[in-house]
Symmetry: C2
Subunit: 198 residues, 2 copies
């Protein structure tokens, strides 16, 4: 496309590699960068470089962090008797936002998925088992409510059970603030099965 | 949010300044950058810096370019007797994709919009008039079919008319490949008014 400067084409290309961003959105973003305040655009560029240079995994829980161990593992106020197992660092963010949980985390790095060739050795399961000292009283399996997540939860539960540690998982049921109309049958049938007494 | 490293927070912040990208998408993008191949991420960062450093406006048509004059203005094969007036550089890209137009362009830099405080002096109208030498035979007003675009077209037509230059604008009608069902009444009534004879 002769109409477009090379530099802009490269930026469109680079943007369209991001998830959920097609050619059209990438073009719109690139043109926006062009019109943007120079300092703000440079800030975005630097932020990307900074993230790729400074962020690594916590050697204890495998959360992403700039310092090792991560702030959560280092925090003396967090309850060291509970470990919440999640698939990815994003999930920690979601759980932290609830302000409901004060224990530690463990990032598996995915879920078992034989079809995608992800077996137990591809996840940080050995590392989790190594953390299960007598100090740990409960392991919360906060995996995604997907087939893979469920399978991983069952697998982990079988491994941890012999250690006499309480294993829990997130409650299943109808999401708050929604209408029953929008809840799928599977969720609804689970919600009926595990109904709470008032 | 303690759970998130500073560098990542900055990246989320920077991403969410882009148009159509909210906090949630910005977070997803930032996490994707984290997982991305380092070279590709760095390429995105460099592309942003490159665009902000190397792209400027063509001193003739005000299209974005890395060289001045821009490749279109420099191209000896382009028809210099026609100037297509567009609101922004993005529009040039769209028109070039059609392969239908072989003349020159002129980027106004927006459309008249008294409510947003954009008057004739904020657009490159004087620059357009300066380009209307006797060599120019036709000015195509390819402005957006919005109130502002229409107003700008009428304003420009009034200025150019005395110069005895042919003034045209894009045809209005039903878009191709669509169904009449999805065409709004205004477009349909225009399409009826300017119906073509077969």
């Amino acid at each position: 496309m002769k109409a477009l400067p090379e530099a802009l084409q490269q930026l469109i290309q680079a943007f369209s590699r991001l998830p959920g961003i097609g050619k059209k959105t990438a073009t719109r973003l690139a043109f926006h960068v062009l019109k943007m305040d120079k300092e703000q655009a440079m800030e975005l560029a630097r932020a990307i470089q900074h993230v790729k240079t400074n962020i690594r995994f916590c050697s204890i829980c495998y959360n992403i962090t700039e310092t090792d161990p991560c702030p959560i593992c280092r925090d003396p106020l967090r309850d060291k008797s509970t470990i919440c197992v999640v698939e990815s660092s994003e999930d920690i963010l979601l759980i932290e936002r609830t302000n409901e949980y004060k224990g530690l985390y463990h990032v598996l790095g995915g879920a078992l998925s034989p079809l995608d060739g992800i077996g137990p050795e591809d996840l940080r399961i050995k590392e989790l088992l190594n953390r299960l000292t007598p100090e740990v009283k409960e392991v919360i399996l906060a995996l995604n409510p997907s087939t893979e997540g469920e399978a991983t939860a069952i697998y982990l539960a079988r491994l941890i059970k012999p250690l006499n540690i309480k294993i829990t998982r997130l409650a299943r049921g109808v999401p708050l603030g929604s209408s029953l109309e929008f809840v799928d049958e599977l969720t609804l049938s689970r919600a009926i099965q595990s109904r709470d007494e008032l």
